[in-house]
């Protein structure tokens, strides 16, 4: 499969754009149900989340277990801004990215120097702290009841709330985010991050500012999670703190692991698989988390490199024939 993909590479961007902006909405419009549109939006939101977590956990090798909390910060920023001030989506996206990224940056200052599992546990606690603050700050967030009746997408004064229009809004934002992640991870900068992952002492000896690079990439990743949160708030119209707890972080991590740590196409594919697969068996509703657990376990055991391993992903994105 990778070889076919590699051959299609020169037209890859065109094919991808045509697929995301043409084929999928056309198919969904043909079915003409609200639900598939929502599912498509949710999938794209999780693509952003998986791609951004992949930047930190896959490319830079910092295992984060608190990603969903930053996603929640973004969602709450957008929801409260548009509920209180009726702000535009553009403003909300920027604000969500800034708030989530800013908190990510502040949190990373003390924790980023921790290694291995200690960083994972620190991010887990930070995530729990953030969610506890959101839950308990009644005056601002209405606590565990969540925020209801969040307005749909309004861009530059235009109401883009209909299913097809909001699909396009989410699709465009997702494509932009993917492009950002792609540029970050497939340039010299991305290779520098990989050097940190493999051996940060050696990377430091080569003249990389290890601490600063980790700090910046963590902030960028959390800012992208904030963007995903803003999209979620406007596309579901309802958010509550429980939507951003540890199981959600684990779900995102599972997507990255299943796709292949460090590989952007893998993260995208992982997000699609883990959102669509449980929907196929929706009658088993309760089994969703079972499926997540089983997929995570089997992929760790049987495919440690993921669906599209990092090396293959490189060949794919560089247009070289696969090994």
């Amino acid at each position: 499969m990778a070889a076919i993909l590699a051959r299609a590479r020169p037209y890859g961007v065109v094919i991808l754009l045509a697929f995301v902006l043409g084929v999928v909405p056309a198919l969904l419009a043909a079915v003409n149900l609200g639900y598939p549109f929502r599912l498509a939006q949710l999938t794209m939101i999780f693509i952003i989340l998986a791609a951004s977590l992949n930047l930190v956990s896959g490319v830079a090798g910092l295992l984060s277990l608190g990603h969903a909390a930053f996603y929640g910060v973004g969602a709450y920023t957008a929801a409260l801004l548009s509920a209180r001030f009726g702000t535009d989506l553009v403003v909300n996206l920027v604000a969500s990215a800034a708030v989530a990224g800013g908190i990510g940056f502040l949190v990373a200052i003390p924790t980023i120097r921790l290694v291995k599992i200690f960083f994972a546990v620190a991010t887990l606690s930070v995530g729990e702290i953030i969610i506890l603050v959101i839950t308990n700050w009644y005056d601002l967030t209405r606590g565990p009841m969540g925020v209801r009746d969040i307005p749909g997408f309004v861009v530059l004064g235009m109401d883009l709330g209909s299913p097809l229009r909001s699909y396009y809004v989410v699709a465009v934002v997702t494509l932009v985010c993917i492009w950002i992640v792609h540029r970050l991870s497939h340039t010299v900068y991305g290779n520098a991050l990989r050097a940190l992952r493999e051996d940060d002492q050696a990377a430091g000896a080569m003249g990389l500012n290890v601490g600063m690079m980790k700090l910046v990439i963590f902030a960028i990743s959390t800012a992208l999670a904030g963007v995903a949160g803003a999209l979620l708030a406007h596309s579901t119209n309802f958010i509550s703190p429980d939507m951003f707890r540890l199981p959600e972080s684990i779900l995102i991590l599972t997507m990255v692991v299943v796709g292949g740590l460090g590989s952007l196409p893998g993260a995208v594919l992982g997000a699609i698989v883990l959102i669509i697969l449980p929907e196929l068996g929706r009658d088993f509703g309760q089994l969703r988390m079972v499926l997540v657990g089983a997929v995570l376990f089997l992929s760790i055991l049987l495919m440690p490199k993921g669906l599209i391993g990092e090396v293959t992903a490189f060949d794919l994105l560089r247009g070289k024939p696969s090994r």
Partner: protein, 303 residues
């Protein structure tokens, strides 16, 4: 000292001992494999459920339940090691045994097994709290001056003391304990001097998991809260206690667990109850930032 404060201290100590019971097993497993066992919270939960099932079926004397649950825990530890840890230890060379990839892989495989176990427990028993036969609860009040203790306080204290003594005996007086200490000191070195590391790791898991299951039983019967998600919060706090105590340091972990329990029990005096859950996480962050090697720890490479 007034009675309210004294009562708070007593409650805090028994809460802290509950965390300590979990932390002991956690620390033991971490010490040997240097890997976090995220499924420990499910062993704890299944320990409580196993005790409940046994009590409902046979209503045996309490001591018999304790031994049965310890056996169930050991069995769970054995299975857990086989399913989530051993398959990832295929390579035996130094680089891959010490590699970060392996540690993260076991972290995620134990997380996945934990999710599966919890979800199946929820499918089997439902997500709600289980009704506990009234005779089995460990909450008969005993007034001691102005302070009201319950039988559970004594049982938990006794259990923690017995477990610590047993552990000291196991670690410092038996051959398997010697091997466990050797592994936790240097896995590769232990391999080179001919210790059957796989066997020692299985033993460690069995001991640690039976301690975890017993902790679940005690806490479940003491607070009357047995449900599939019961493991998450206490295990996280026990994990925090382990990190604060300095990783390989069991007495340190116990002391820190007591500290967390005491703070959580006394904090409502000075702050709204709903913020109490923050305390442990703040402790953890403060520890990680200011005492990177843990409060009682040796110097360890973690920054």
């Amino acid at each position: 000292m007034d009675a309210v404060l004294l009562q708070g201290i007593v409650n805090g100590l028994s809460l802290g001992l509950c965390y300590a019971l979990i932390a002991i097993g956690f620390t033991l497993i971490f010490g040997v494999l240097n890997a976090v066992n995220f499924a420990h919270s499910e062993v704890y939960m299944l320990g409580a459920f196993a005790g409940l099932v046994i009590i409902q079926a046979f209503a045996p004397p309490f001591l018999a339940v304790v031994f049965a649950v310890a056996a169930v825990g050991a069995l769970l530890g054995f299975g857990l090691e086989r399913i989530a840890f051993r398959p990832l230890r295929r390579a035996r060379d130094e680089a891959s045994l010490k590699s970060r990839a392996l540690r993260e892989a076991t972290l995620m495989s134990s997380l996945a097994v934990g999710i599966l176990v919890r979800e199946f427990a929820e499918l089997r028993f439902g997500g709600d709290m289980q009704p506990i036969p009234s005779g089995a609860m460990l909450n008969t009040p005993i007034a001691l001056g102005p302070v009201i203790l319950t039988t559970g306080d004594f049982y938990i204290f006794g259990m923690a003391a017995a477990m610590l003594l047993l552990l000291q005996f196991l670690l410092y007086r038996t051959k398997i304990g010697l091997s466990i200490r050797a592994l936790s000191d240097d896995l590769i070195g232990a391999l080179y001097v001919g210790i059957n590391t796989d066997r020692v790791i299985v033993w460690t898991f069995m001991i640690g998991s039976s301690f975890g299951a017993l902790a679940g039983l005690m806490v479940g019967l003491y607070y009357g809260t047995i449900f599939p998600y019961m493991g998450f919060a206490p295990t996280l706090k026990a994990f925090i206690a382990m990190l604060m105590g300095g990783l390989n340091n069991i007495p340190g972990a116990v002391l820190c667990a007591l500290l967390i329990g005491l703070s959580e029990s006394l904090a409502p005096e000075i702050m709204p109850t709903r913020w109490v859950d923050l305390i442990a996480y703040v402790f953890l962050l403060v520890t990680l930032i200011f005492f990177p090697a843990g409060i009682f720890g040796r110097k360890a490479e973690r920054v």
